[in-house]
């Protein structure tokens, strides 16, 4: 393993950022060009990330120091296996969502706002994943959080604005907490670089403050329990492709940040010694149960999905709290899985809402016969959520559970299972009603709609098939990446 | 008691400049009449000038003018010089304040602060 310098990470971040301006310019003239350019940007970004693969797979770390802001504080990029995994995942999903947006958004207002924001959010997301130090991470984290606000309030309804305001305030709180954490880290360690040894030596009170701050900051983004309130409001009101990204990718930035904090800032020994992970574990358990339980009572399709996201993020947090190797694999793989599953679900829900205009689950009886393809994708993803064997959701749950067993805490496994059952309780009725339920002619207008346009279907299909494939094929790329990444983190991560 | 009084007497310049200062303050504090406020301000300023000049004063000292064969004690000329500047400043502030009072009177038709508040209370800024 060696450290290499390459401009590529900077390119990955800067390219979409620059393209944003190009798109902004182009969209004044041609809508078609705008759409094409957005998709092309996402594709190029994805390919650029993929281009990192040979180096990464050879076990190298790519670093690039942009410039120094201050002594010991710089904008730097660093791509290790974990960064790469998440970057490739999110650019992939982004690409699909960009394709999906073309048809979804064509009837929406404010597309000229939507696309540049979509692309610049991609840039900041890449920035988060490729950040070489906490400061850079923080900068992009804030950028992403704030810019995605535009996506949240895109509809500009009263609800959206309200939810957006909540989101904004929570983002600010989270950002400030992060700031606090980073400041403490900087104060204690004199640097916030992620490429060196861990930054905290021993569990001090200040370190604990920092940990809590990081937990609040990243946990807020990840929909952690007491800070999740913005999530079920913000995700449903956003346009569906945006919700897919919000739920599928942007939540993961919080998880990613926490991973970095646990392994690079505090270090695994410190975490184990100090027992701070217990806090995380308790919160994770509450998050899982709460998310799943509340989802059951939701009537709005997207709201249900949003709550489900909270529950699923709980798994990821739990994986971090357990801190055994397999739990970690499960955790990272679940980031993948959940990204695929939730994106599928949201995109499918978006297609359904677009075509029928109905969001209430009760109204969706028989939709599976009208839009079999979409609903089939939905089903695949939902089954994956429940953790049915051949799907990727199963694989991640399985690995997580094994990790929990390794740690000797079967209690967590039980939590996982209870949550799975609850997942079943809220996903299955949708599917059953969609495929087998009658369209109640007397009460509602029978739903007579066509299948969504193919530009929407293809992304959905790709994601849904990914859900299946990445569970069915055990030597799939995401899992390998997760495995190597977990190994990498546990070996010290540098 | 007498000790205190004695000390007060010895430092009467200082003491009374402080008294004046407080008088000035009090005038600014309690009077609604804007002119009186300005007067208070002036009293306050004056008290400080007094104080400042008193610093430089030497009992029995003479004006610091160089005379042949003089063995006198001179009073310190610097504070006086400074205070000249201070007086200029005070005068200009007073002038400006008075002009503002004129303006206020034009706008409100009164120079009573309370009245002005009352008049302003009705309107939104």
């Amino acid at each position: 393993m060696e450290v290499k310098t390459s401009f590529l990470p900077v390119w990955v971040v800067m390219f979409p950022m620059l393209m944003t301006f190009v798109i902004y310019y182009v969209e004044q003239h041609s809508e078609k060009m705008r759409n094409a350019l957005s998709v092309a940007t996402a594709v190029v970004t994805f390919l650029s990330v993929v281009a990192l693969y040979p180096e990464i797979v050879a076990g190298n770390i790519i670093e690039y120091r942009m410039f120094q802001l201050l002594p010991n504080l710089e904008i730097s990029f660093r791509v290790d296996i974990l960064s790469f995994s998440l970057a490739v995942l999110s650019s992939f999903v982004w690409m699909l969502v960009a394709v999906y947006s073309v048809d979804y958004m064509c009837k929406e207002h404010g597309c000229n706002r939507y696309y540049p924001v979509l692309i610049i959010t991609l840039a900041s997301c890449m920035g988060i994943f490729m950040a070489g130090d906490l400061f850079t991470l923080f900068v992009f984290f804030e950028a992403m959080s704030l810019i995605s606000y535009v996506l949240v309030v895109h509809e500009e309804t009263v609800d959206a604005l309200k939810a957006g305001y909540k989101y904004l305030i929570m983002t600010i709180i989270g950002g400030l907490a992060l700031f606090f954490g980073i400041i403490i880290t900087f104060e204690v360690a004199g640097t916030v670089s992620l490429s060196g040894p861990t930054l905290f030596g021993e569990p001090t009170a200040l370190g604990f403050f920092a940990f809590i701050s990081f937990l609040i900051g990243f946990g807020m983004k990840a929909g952690m329990f007491p800070l999740h309130v913005w999530l079920p409001d913000a995700h449903p009101v956003a346009p569906s492709p945006a919700s897919a990204l919000l739920s599928g990718i942007m939540l993961k930035t919080g998880a990613y940040g926490l991973l970095r904090v646990i392994f690079h800032v505090f270090g695994i020994e410190l975490m184990r010694e100090s027992g701070w992970t217990l806090i995380l574990a308790v919160i994770a358990v509450i998050t899982i149960l709460l998310g799943s339980a509340v989802a059951i009572t939701q009537e709005d399709l997207k709201r249900r999905l949003a709550y489900s996201s909270i529950g699923q993020m709980g798994y990821i947090l739990l994986g971090m709290a357990i801190l055994t190797e397999r739990a970690l694999i499960g955790n990272i793989f679940h980031i993948f899985s959940h990204a695929f599953m939730k994106s599928t679900l949201f995109l499918a829900a978006g297609a359904i809402i677009l075509k029928t205009g109905k969001r209430n689950i009760k109204d969706l009886g028989g939709i599976g016969r009208q839009m079999p393809f979409t609903m089939f994708a939905f089903t695949l993803a939902a089954l994956a959520m429940i953790g049915i064997p051949p799907f990727n959701g199963f694989l991640s749950k399985w690995t997580l559970a094994l990790g929990a067993m390794d740690a000797g805490v079967p209690f967590y496994v039980i939590i996982l299972l209870v949550s799975s059952l609850l997942n079943g309780l809220y996903y299955l009725p949708i599917i059953i009603a969609a495929f087998f339920g009658a369209e109640h002619g007397h009460e509602h207008e029978p739903i007579k709609v066509n299948e969504a346009p193919y530009k929407m279907l293809i992304p959905i299909a790709i994601l849904a098939v990914s859900c299946l494939l990445f569970g069915l094929l055990p030597t799939n790329l995401p899992f390998d990446l997760s495995r190597v990444a977990a190994d990498f983190l546990l070996r010290g991560g540098f | 008691m007498t000790d205190t009084l004695l000390r007060l007497h010895q430092n009467s310049y200082y003491f009374f400049s402080i008294v004046l200062f407080i008088i000035g303050f009090h005038t600014m504090l309690t009077h609604n009449n804007l002119i009186k406020k300005i007067i208070g301000m002036n009293i306050m300023d004056t008290s400080i000038f007094l104080f400042f000049v008193a610093i430089g004063y030497v009992r029995g000292g003479r004006a610091p003018i160089l005379e042949p064969g003089a063995g006198h004690a001179y009073i310190n000329p610097l504070p006086s010089a400074l205070i000249l500047t201070g007086i200029v400043v005070a005068v200009s502030v007073t002038a400006y304040a008075l002009s503002l009072v004129v303006k206020l009177y034009r706008h409100y038709g009164t120079i009573d602060a309370e009245e002005i508040m009352r008049l302003r209370g009705g309107e939104t800024l």
């Binding site: 400061f135 309030v153 305001y165 400030l176 700031f179 | 300023d45 503002l100």
Partner: protein, 495 residues
């Protein structure tokens, strides 16, 4: 001695001189006023730059007015803090008056325009003087000039609110001046010196003999400068004064004037009063708590304001608290943050006031609730406002972030994480009152006057763009100013 050697004096004297020329010029060639003012300010800016360059390369130096050596003559001490402040003043003053060229005729009566430039230059000159001077009484004189000029620059609008606010300001300012003068008297009484350097040398000895005297002087100084700098419980005059003034005045008052008193206080506290003094009186602790209150309560005041300029004015109260927080924490990083915030806040607040002014200029609307959709119809000012607001909240890549960064770091350095938390809480409060404005501006349907704003002159737009770009540039490259600030801090703390 070339002209360059006299630059410290010229920096102050030239604007002072031209200030008095302005009314004449206005009578003679009205259109030259603005150009001359600009030229003068540009001169001050470049001379400050030159001084900065000189100081950075060869260290601080003194300049004796008229060649008189210190015990008798007035001395300018050109050190890092001084040039930093001078740069800030002229650097912000310049774009503000550029903006004013178009805005002022809109806000002021025809006849007084020339006078406005006079006052503006006076203000600038007095502030530059305060920054550079090394003499206590000289400082007082500049304080007085500054006080009158700043009152006048408010009352020049001649609306009843302006006059009233100016009067209020004047009265309180006079109180402050009185305190200051008394303090000077007290200090002079026991030391016999007015020069900072000499004072610093004599005070430790004197302190042993007359501790209470100096304590009283210190208290008076604090109160006097505190009133002028609108430190929390003494801030009452500020909201009215800053909100009713013409926009360029507000910008410069909020951005620069209150800061310059803070600079004066930094000078006095760190350069004049011996370090051991801090042990005798809890000055720093008092400052800390006062600034904490200022930060929190100022922000809370701002939340409930309806008027956009009033809100900005209250926000200034909070922001001056940041500066004093840095002063009070007295650790290297904190002081650095405080001083840096002088510059950063000057830039942000000037921009915010100017943006607000642009809104008022184009629509006549001052109520926050009526500014919905302004971002759609006036994207550039609203964008500038957004950047300023982000900077206020302390979002990274804006300059406001760095002040916060150093303040928080300094609080931790000083072993008082509570104050780091204060900084963060206030950021949150800032977010609470700034962000809804931006959100409303960009995501609501424009109504009424907002829907059809008047045309904004290119100069005003340009100023906003320049300031906005400045916020971002100094956010991305904080090291542009940090070198200077860091040296200033080191010098002040004797590191």
């Amino acid at each position: 001695m070339s002209a360059a050697a006299h630059l410290p004096a010229l920096t102050v004297v030239v604007p002072l001189f031209f200030a008095y020329l302005m009314p004449l010029l206005a009578r003679w060639r009205k259109s030259w006023c603005a150009a001359t003012t600009l030229a003068v300010l540009a001169f001050t800016f470049f001379s400050s730059l030159y001084l900065a360059n000189r100081v950075m390369s060869s260290g601080p130096f003194v300049y004796h007015m008229g060649g008189w050596a210190p015990p008798w003559g007035i001395e300018f001490y050109v050190d890092y803090l001084a040039v930093f402040t001078a740069l800030t003043i002229s650097g912000i003053g310049l774009p503000v008056i550029v903006y004013g060229i178009k805005d002022l005729p809109h806000e002021l009566k025809e006849g007084v325009l020339g006078w406005y430039y006079t006052l503006y230059l006076l203000l600038m000159a007095s502030m530059l003087g305060m920054a550079l001077t090394n003499d206590l009484f000289n400082l007082f004189v500049f304080v007085e000039i500054c006080a009158i000029a700043s009152c006048a620059i408010i009352s020049i609008k001649e609306s009843r609110e302006c006059v009233e606010a100016a009067f209020k300001y004047l009265v309180l300012s006079a109180v402050g001046s009185g305190c200051l003068l008394l303090a000077i008297a007290l200090i002079y009484m026991v030391t016999g010196h007015l020069n900072f350097t000499f004072l610093a040398a004599t005070l430790p000895g004197v302190m042993a003999v007359y501790p209470k005297n100096i304590l009283a002087a210190l208290a008076l100084l604090m109160v006097g400068l505190g009133v002028k700098a609108a430190l929390f419980p003494l801030h009452v005059w500020l909201p009215d004064a800053h909100s009713s003034a013409p926009s360029p005045s507000s910008a410069v008052l909020s951005g620069l004037v209150i800061k310059i008193y803070a600079v004066a206080m930094i000078k006095l506290l760190y350069k004049v009063f011996p370090a051991t003094f801090a042990g005798m009186a809890p000055v720093m602790a008092m400052l800390l708590w006062m600034s904490t209150l200022a930060i929190i309560i100022g922000s809370m005041f701002a939340i409930v304001q309806e008027d956009i300029k009033k809100m900005l004015a209250y926000s200034s109260i909070a922001q001056i608290g940041y500066v004093f927080l840095g002063v009070g924490l007295a650790s290297h990083n904190a002081l650095l943050g405080g001083i840096l915030h002088i510059f950063n806040h000057a830039m942000m607040k000037a921009m915010l006031f100017l943006a607000a002014g642009a809104f008022i200029y184009a629509t006549g609307v001052r109520k926050l609730s009526q500014l919905k959709g302004i971002g759609v119809t006036m994207p550039v000012p609203a964008g500038a406002f957004a950047i300023g607001a982000m900077a206020m909240v302390g979002i990274p890549v804006t300059n406001g972030f760095w002040s916060k960064w150093y303040l928080a770091l300094g609080a931790l350095d000083a072993g008082k994480p509570l104050f780091a938390a204060v900084v963060l809480v206030s950021s949150l409060l800032n977010g609470i009152y700034y962000l809804p404005i931006i959100v409303n501006a960009f995501f609501s349907k424009p109504e009424g006057a907002v829907a059809k704003p008047g045309r904004l002159p290119a100069v005003m737009t340009g100023t906003l763009v320049v300031l906005g770009a400045g916020c971002i540039i100094f956010g991305i490259f904080p090291s542009l100013v940090l070198g200077l600030v860091s040296r200033a801090t080191r010098l002040l703390l004797g590191l």
